[in-house]
Symmetry: C2
Subunit: 596 residues, 2 copies
């Protein structure tokens, strides 16, 4: 019943007109040959795969879910999932941005991320199977021994094996320092790992012949806390020297979670009973090794909500144009019909435009950030690499938390457009809301993201990274501010920039007195900075749209209207948020715990 059309025009606008990725690619030797046509061809084919193969399985997969056979510990994914994954592998999609040394196509991450936006629109739960795999690939690529790389990377690149990240345990999610899984050194240099992991996405399934688990555990001599955690690679089937599969490793799925959404992704409880693994990176440095892929993973979660926002928007627009109900307050707009389409009602448009404005600015931010990731990895100039890394560090918690909070708001609005029909499964809208909800939780809850932003990314270096982003804004304001037709965008952007500067200074002073002040203000602060970033991108997009309006392409007219909507109806939220951010810690802490 739902529909999905890959937003190729807007992706191309962001990639080529706004961010101009190929200009950056030319400066990176490994990507210098990637031109506009290549990028567009990949996205066009990727969009066909997402819409044609993965999207039709989204509702049926949600209804069917995954099934665990408790006697064999094997998990069956919903009908069609295995065949779709085989097509994914046959099409070479897993290898898009992987290292050519292991069979990858070596395309920039930003291209892969745009492909993932479409996969997530099509079916977030299915997409998590290859998505999680990518995290394991990145981690082994950065920290694996030559043997580990030779054993695992070609298979993860081709996609014939998938990977997982086994971090969480029942008593520790956010606080991995508490974890208890133990790794005993074996005479042959391997480790026997015992413990219980929970919430392991794609932890067990029938899509591939082998699953490569990356597992956090403690060595016998490990210091307590987060400095005593090591990382191991633990395959479901051990791998023989010739690359063939050996014995079944005792790492089993002990149960599947029944969840609010993403039903068709197997969220596994994993039981390790002396499972054999090898150490990745140095002993006790496991957390640091995991964190190399954290920025990409968090960007990936932002992309999930971007994808859901886009597909929810498309469906809500189609319904709002089709459904007739009541007359416009200002008089009939379709007098020949018994009622007007509900898109004539201002609040229906407000809900639709909220989703649209969040999707389009979110896309701009994601592409901008993903390109910075490529620069961080592949730019020849060390200064550019460092500056890019700093900006990625600043923007990552915003991408993760702001986009997923917005995705929750937007999918709920799009569902509301359907009235009662939005609440029933048939129309597919309520699934988008249920699926979107997990994105605010995993890969670090949005509260954790906000503490990361305000505490570690902003205050810890006295605002250096924030000021660097502020210079981007200031330059744009100076350039565009001379234009009469840009005043409506540049003025509120500059004004909000000033307010963020003041707010940051004030919060820094308070935090100096009591570090808990960071926790009191961080969530509101992140949302304010998120709007600053969105206002910057919306102003830049408006500038392009103004310049190209003469072309007669209605795309730019729509872009301009959406920009104006954003500044009129969404940005003003910051007025309240700045007040609550400033209202401090005391209203939260004054009440004794016993009085709750």
């Amino acid at each position: 019943m739902p529909q999905y059309t890959p937003p190729l025009r807007d992706l191309q606008f962001v990639l080529h007109e706004l961010v101009q990725v190929t200009e950056s690619f030319k400066q990176m030797p490994v990507h210098a040959e990637v031109d506009v046509d290549t990028v567009n061809a990949v996205l066009e084919e990727g969009g066909k795969f997402a819409a044609g193969v993965v999207f039709p399985l989204n509702q049926s997969g949600d209804a069917e879910g995954c099934t665990l056979d408790r006697s064999t510990h094997e998990v069956r994914t919903p009908a069609g999932y295995k065949a779709a994954y085989a097509q994914y592998v046959d099409g070479g999609w897993p290898s898009l941005s992987c290292d050519p040394a292991y069979g990858g196509q070596g395309l920039p991450h930003v291209v892969n991320q745009c492909f993932y936006e479409m996969l997530n629109s099509a079916n977030q739960a299915w997409t998590m199977y290859p998505g999680l795999s990518h995290g394991a690939y990145e981690c082994l690529h950065a920290h694996g021994t030559p043997e580990q790389k030779a054993t695992y990377l070609p298979k993860l690149t081709s996609g014939v094996w998938t990977g997982t990240m086994c971090l969480t345990e029942p008593h520790c999610g956010t606080d991995l320092g508490l974890l208890r899984t133990r790794a005993e050194p074996q005479p042959d240099g391997s480790y026997a790992i015992t413990g219980a992991k929970i919430f392991i996405s794609a932890g067990e399934h029938d899509l591939t012949e082998n699953i490569v688990h990356l597992v956090l555990a403690r060595l016998p001599d490990a210091p307590v806390g987060s400095k005593g955690i090591s990382l191991f690679v633990v395959p479901k089937f051990l791998v023989n020297a010739d690359g063939s599969l050996g014995a079944r490793n005792p790492i089993h799925c002990g149960g599947l979670e029944h969840k609010m959404g993403i039903h068709s992704n197997a969220t596994a409880q994993m039981v390790l009973e002396g499972a054999i693994g090898t150490l990745v990176g140095e002993p006790h440095k496991g957390l640091a090794a995991m964190f190399v892929m954290m920025n990409a993973a968090r960007l990936g979660v932002g992309m999930q909500s971007l994808g859901l926002t886009e597909v929810a928007y498309q469906n809500a627009v189609a319904y709002a144009k089709d459904r007739i109900q009541m007359r416009a307050l200002s008089g009939p707009k379709n007098p020949d019909k018994p009622a007007d389409s509900i898109i004539v009602h201002p609040d229906v448009r407000k809900m639709l435009l909220t989703a649209r404005a969040y999707a389009e600015a979110g896309r701009a931010l994601c592409v901008h950030t993903a390109l910075l990731l490529d620069q961080e990895l592949s730019h020849p100039d060390e200064d550019v690499r460092r500056a890019s890394a700093d900006e990625v560090a600043l923007l990552t918690p915003i991408v993760k938390a702001f986009l997923t909070d917005n995705g929750w708001i937007a999918t709920s609005h799009c569902m509301q457009v359907f009235g009662g029909h939005g609440y029933i499964r048939e129309w597919g809208m309520e699934q988008y809301v249920r699926d979107a909800r997990i994105n605010m939780i995993y890969e670090g809850t949005n509260t954790i993201q906000s503490l990361d932003l305000l505490g570690r990314k902003v205050l810890a270096d006295n605002g250096k990274k924030l000021k660097a982003f502020g210079r981007r804004i200031a330059e744009f304001v100076e350039d565009a501010g001379v234009r009469e037709d840009m005043q409506e965008f540049v003025n509120p952007l500059a004004d909000l920039g000033d307010k963020v500067t003041k707010l940051t200074t004030e919060l820094g002073m308070k935090a100096f007195g009591n570090p808990d002040e960071v926790g009191a203000a961080a969530v509101d602060y992140l949302r304010v900075v998120g709007h600053l970033v969105f206002a910057y991108f919306w102003a830049r997009m408006a500038l392009i749209a103004l310049d190209k309006q003469a072309s007669g392409d209605a795309f730019y007219t729509a872009k301009l209207h959406t920009a104006r909507f954003y500044f009129a109806k969404l940005l003003p939220e910051t007025a309240g948020l700045i007040r609550t951010a400033r209202s401090g810690l005391n209203p939260l802490m004054a009440m004794d715990e016993s009085l709750f």
Copy 2:
């Protein structure tokens, strides 16, 4: 796994200390004997029933759902539902606020509503079976013929039969003027009704021997639109003259909806194939007859979200005290444990206090409004009845929309406190979020409520009703404003009152130019006025708490802290909302429909 304790202390505070219901009861002859002890005894027993009988079925009912036997058209409710309903009937609970003339106990509606808050905390979907019944009772009580009353009211009062409201059809939900179900007059004065209804809550089930459907349909000579709709009572089984059950009436359940939440309430597609009914009220005046029970129904939906907010809060608090994870940013608070309870983290408290502040102010508003309903019905002074009716009219859309939007925010926050554990079914939190979502949709979407408030309740009488409520606030501000210790509450209340006055005037002027301006501002406007109402109740509650602090009862200390939290962290949302309300229609309508 979840827990629920009826909030008797806070209910008593609101009933007896804040609203002082028994003072009002004394002025109403039919309720003059209802004293504090009676009210408390009913709520104590009602709380036991809700927590002890209905609450344990909430998760299992959600997991099992309802089942339709397509051969018999009969619906089976989840295990335990029928037995719980039998206990409900045996306990005399359906008759609490019903007319003694038909076997009711004649208690004030406000007492029944407080009982319903607890039932909704315990199990919203179960509670909808008796809840819907109450709507049918009210409607027949107001508009039924003596024969209809004699036939149906005693059975609805005792609860041995339940009732439904059959309004919506596939092509019309909000716009009932479009409905197509037809009623053909029969020689005996009855009508044969044919058509299809959807989204009929409790439309078919196995809890009772008969179901009394109130059905909207068109007579053959009916004018088009909403002025041609009549109301009929159509029992599942026809009723013989002696009150015994006769033939099965051809009104069948043709299907059940698969919904996001409230799984255990049967949402039925009802097929009428010449079902026999009798006319309720006058021909073509069916909508008006239905609307007599709309205020109570909308208050009831607000109560549903109040109930969910309360139970979600209780569970999130328990988890936040129990779960240890990370250290407070300001240093360990439980140094003897490996980590601190998460309630030490300011943002966890912010999420908890948001739910708490919304629940407690929502309870105050609901009790206040329900008492006004009693006054509207039972006060001997016509001026009081009229003033009460006006205030109910003003507050009803706020109760419905503001409380259900807040319930969505609050249940989602409470779920977030659980991190990943909130997303899985086991802990029960995600169910509260799924169940809460419908409340923003049914009984008139929240957008419809906002149009009702701004267009019909405020602007249509030039703000007369709003001004009357404003006088309540002004009197309180004048009285309490002389106290030094009330400045922190009275000043922001008075300030917001001024802003609402200005905003209302401005929107009235704009709407005069273009009625669509109402639709552009209404949702933001309702939320601003909702905060004004909450600020008023929080200031009043703070005043009582200040005066009683010396008693040493920690209840008042907690009340005061929650009031301060509300003013510091929730009220400031109005700063942004006023701006968006003022930003007008153009940003919404400028974009041509084809560009969406």
